[in-house]
């Protein structure tokens, strides 16, 4: 999957807005932004500076950037702008002479950076988002009517986890599984986002609601989610793994044949070295080809949702 400049811009803006950065200027092609302390810590790689700020309590000075999503269009746009600016100055310059446009240096300088699908900055944004959005504790926000009704609404706690499954041998494929389980009924929602569709979620506990007591412990719920997911993974086509195992077998056979004669070496010392080489070559090959599946979480959390029925 690749992304259009618009999509990249949208991802970037989501991050900047979520971290409360100060947007100075924006267009469909770019955004100029003064980072918030939170974003600066994540993005600029200045641990020593932030260490200094933390220890001395100095007022932090965050960096500013111009992120450009569509360099071609942006440059064109900028050129038009400076051309227009030059024309305006025409009258003044007749009296004062033209001053060349100097690039700004020093602390006020705003660095330009092109951000596209493959750029390291976008990866960094995603990774930062993953770190800061990792453990969630959220409530469904009721429609405004709820405050006026007499009865408090029952809320059901759900454990939601977005799993990443990595199928790897000498090649690799990945899948995402965002699934949730009710801690009250043990019901599993997959995909969980379907259950969340149309809901407004916020960390604020709404008025006039009560949380139903959980019957499942968190650990038990996690276990159920895992076994549900492994069940799903077990249904997958494992042709790739079979083929990888086949490749591994062939490669090992080739190695075995090669070392067969060498291992008849009479000299003890030499033989030891050959044995070592043989073993390490075999283990390297297994490392390279052996198929495996790895599960990890992108994000997880407790979602308190209004009970249905």
């Amino acid at each position: 999957m690749s992304m259009s400049p618009q999509e990249v811009r949208e991802h970037m803006m989501t991050y900047l807005e979520s971290t409360e950065c100060q947007i100075i200027e924006k267009s469909p092609y770019h955004v100029t932004v003064k980072l918030s302390p939170q974003a600066d810590r994540q993005l600029t790689g200045r641990p020593y500076y932030w260490g200094f700020v933390d220890r001395t309590g100095a007022e932090p000075e965050t960096l500013s950037f111009t992120f450009v999503f569509d360099p071609e269009r942006y440059d064109q746009h900028e050129q038009e702008k400076t051309a227009a600016a030059r024309q305006q100055d025409h009258l003044l310059s007749r009296y004062y002479g033209t001053a060349p446009l100097l690039p700004q240096l020093g602390p006020g300088r705003i660095q330009r950076e092109d951000v596209t699908y493959g750029s390291a900055r976008l990866q960094q944004i995603w990774n930062a988002a993953r770190q800061e959005g990792f453990c969630l504790y959220l409530f469904e926000q009721p429609p405004s009517l709820q405050r006026e009704t007499l009865f408090s609404a029952p809320y059901e706690p759900w454990l939601g986890v977005c799993f990443k499954a990595e199928m790897a041998c000498d090649m690799k494929k990945e899948e995402l599984h965002f699934i949730g389980i009710s801690l009250v009924s043990g019901q599993i929602a997959s995909p969980f986002p379907d259950r969340l569709k149309g809901l407004t979620l916020s960390p604020r506990l709404p008025e006039n609601v009560h949380i139903q007591p959980a019957t499942l412990s968190l650990d038990a719920a996690a276990g159920l989610l895992e076994s549900y997911l492994t069940g799903k993974l077990a249904e997958m086509d494992y042709g790739w793994a079979e083929q990888a195992k086949e490749r591994l077998k062939e490669e090992l056979a080739v190695i075995d044949i090669y070392y067969e004669d060498l291992l008849k070496e009479p000299d003890e010392e030499k033989l030891a070295a050959i044995r070592e080489q043989f073993a390490s070559r075999r283990s390297e090959t297994t490392w390279q080809y052996e198929p495996k599946v790895h599960l990890s979480a992108i994000t997880c959390g407790l979602f308190h949702l209004r009970s249905k029925g």
Binding site: M171, K172, E226, V254, L295
Partner: protein, 578 residues
């Protein structure tokens, strides 16, 4: 990391399953402390980010979408696919020179990194190429590679280092204790001998994927290829004995070509020039023969006589003659170069020595020279072309002189030399790309001068080492050059230069030859002594022009024979691959 196997799970997968349960610990931990809680917007962004870079297919190239501003050629794409999907990441990339092996290696590395299969990488290259690799990986591929400088840089994820540093203590022990997801070795033909420490070191390194880059997989004999492949995948060509009986007839002649071809294709990719869509533009060579002015001729004769006398006096010992040989070469370039060397020489010899008088005699001959025939011709040529030109000379003094001379005649020119730091080199390149019409360069080898935008070059003087000539041409005649390249060689008749040019141009036809074969030819030729040294000796020991001519001719014949042999072998290799 909290990892475990799911033995208690009712569903079992046909492959090992590792579950990272650290998320549950973190969640429990935060529940206990009552936070801090993550932002839902950011969590959604993280998920969308994961979706956007999810590798959804085992066999579809991902790296292209990640690489802006890089448009790989078709053969480079094919190579990348083949290495990933057919060779499982262990391959010899043996494209001929100039087809972009580095680009291929970069794409393969990038693809594995995107797929999360590679994070720790060791790249071993000749010392002179370390920085170039780092720069290319950074700028073209966005791969944060680091040049190895201090011991602690080894701890970085992606390190570029010279193999000679890496194999030495104390680095060696550290590297051997590591596990590398990928190992890349440039100029891998240097690992042809099993007994060398380099070879044994690479063999011991623990690596998952491995790329060996070389333009000349077979230089001298077939065992070299066998050794190279053994480094990558021992047993691919069978046992050592099997290989010899199955595939080798003579030293350089393979047999059972069909079968060998099949086996080789499993581990080696060799793209050739002139195949497929990669077409190089032509080279047009013009030799400009000049007549020295009487004063210049006098200096030339004076220096030649002086050098020969000294050679005889030393009893034919070349090693003590180094500065004199230089003198002999410089006299073909400019009086400034000669002057500088003479001054240095006079400082070394004691005052009362009879040499002093001779040296001063030569200095007086220099004084008599009022004009430089070659420089005048060069200006004339540049004016005729009226386009960007690069002028190469071997000597600093000549470079200085030309700079001054050209400037006086209203040409905008910039210097370029090996001693400049990176920033200055880049600056000079920018100036040349922009305002300057002429670049005067003393250095052709090394890294980073890619001048595809210029297609005229003038060899103000010729190096006696053909590899250097080839390096010069390679700056201009490379992938991306749109025009035919025009090469002008200046030579003065009746001098040694004329003979050298004759040898290089007419005998081994090097200016028009396809690059890549030259290093092989030279390596075979220079088994005993370098070509440069032989030329010097030949010149110093001959009494007449005619004698030199004969000797140069026979030298040319030897080179030609080797060339034909190499061509023949390359043809048979090609047939195997075809």
């Amino acid at each position: 990391m909290n990892t475990s196997n799911t033995s208690e799970n009712p569903h079992t997968l046909p492959v090992p399953l590792h579950i990272d349960r650290s998320w549950l610990d973190q969640l429990n931990n935060r529940l206990e402390k009552g936070g801090p809680w993550g932002d839902w917007g950011l969590a959604q962004l993280a998920i969308r980010g994961e979706e956007a870079r999810l590798v959804t297919s085992f066999d579809e190239l991902q790296c292209l979408k990640h690489l802006q501003g890089l448009s790989p050629l078709p053969h480079q794409l094919d190579t990348t696919r083949k290495v990933l999907f057919e060779m499982s990441g262990r391959a010899i990339l043996a494209d001929e020179v100039g087809l972009g092996k580095t680009i291929e290696a970069g794409m393969i590395l990038k693809e594995y990194m995107i797929r999360g299969l590679v994070s720790k990488v060791l790249i071993l290259v000749p010392a002179s190429l370390v920085l170039q690799w780092v720069r290319e990986l950074n700028s073209k591929f966005g791969i944060p590679a680091i040049a190895q400088k201090k011991a602690y840089t080894w701890h970085s994820d992606i390190v570029v280092a010279s193999i000679d540093t890496a194999k030495r203590d104390p680095h060696k022990d550290f590297l051997l204790s590591q596990e590398y997801d990928m190992l890349i070795i440039d100029e891998a033909h240097k690992l042809k001998n099993k007994k060398t420490t380099n070879y044994q070191f690479i063999q011991k390194l623990r690596k998952k994927y491995c790329l060996l880059l070389t333009a000349t997989p077979v230089q001298n004999d077939m065992t070299e290829l066998f050794n190279l492949i053994t480094l990558l995948k021992p047993g691919q060509l069978g046992r050592q004995g099997d290989f010899a009986t199955n595939f080798v007839v003579g030293k350089r002649q393979p047999k059972n070509q069909e079968q060998l071809k099949d086996e080789l294709a499993k581990v080696m990719i060799r793209n050739r020039r002139g195949e497929g869509p990669v077409q190089f533009t032509k080279r047009h060579v013009t030799n400009v023969s000049l007549q020295l002015s009487p004063e210049e001729q006098a200096l030339y004769d004076g220096v030649t006589a002086f050098v020969k006398d000294e050679y005889r006096a030393s009893g034919g010992n070349l090693s003590s003659m180094l500065s004199l040989v230089t003198l002999q070469r410089e006299v073909c370039s400019s009086r400034d170069a000669v002057f500088l060397t003479l001054v240095n020489l006079s400082k070394k010899i004691p005052d009362e020595s009879p040499l002093t008088a001779k040296v001063w005699e030569l200095v007086n001959a220099i004084r008599a020279i009022k004009a430089n025939t070659k420089a005048e011709k060069t200006i004339e040529l540049i004016r005729q072309m009226n386009e960007k030109v690069i002028v190469f000379t071997e000597y600093r003094a000549t470079q200085e002189y030309l700079l001054q001379y050209f400037q006086k005649h209203g040409l905008i020119c910039v210097p370029y030399r090996g001693g400049m730091n990176r920033g200055k080199k880049d600056w000079m390149m920018d100036l040349f790309r922009g305002r300057a019409q002429v670049m005067i360069a003393t250095e052709a080898g090394g890294e980073g001068i890619n001048l595809q935008f210029c297609h005229h070059m003038i060899n103000f003087d010729l190096p006696w080492n053909p590899m250097r000539v080839e390096q010069r041409i390679g700056r201009v005649h490379r992938l991306g050059q749109q025009n035919d390249v025009k090469i002008y060689n200046l030579s003065t008749s009746g001098t040694i230069e004329e003979h050298i040019l004759h040898l290089l141009h007419e005998k081994i036809n090097m200016f028009e030859m396809v690059i890549g074969g030259l290093d092989v030819i030279l390596e075979r030729f220079e088994k005993q002594e370098s070509l440069e040294k032989r030329l010097v000796k030949m010149f110093l020991e001959s009494d007449s022009n005619e004698e030199i001519r004969q000797k140069v001719n026979s030298l040319g014949q030897t080179l030609d024979q080797i060339k034909q042999q190499v061509d023949y072998e390359s043809e048979t290799m090609k047939e195997e691959e075809a």
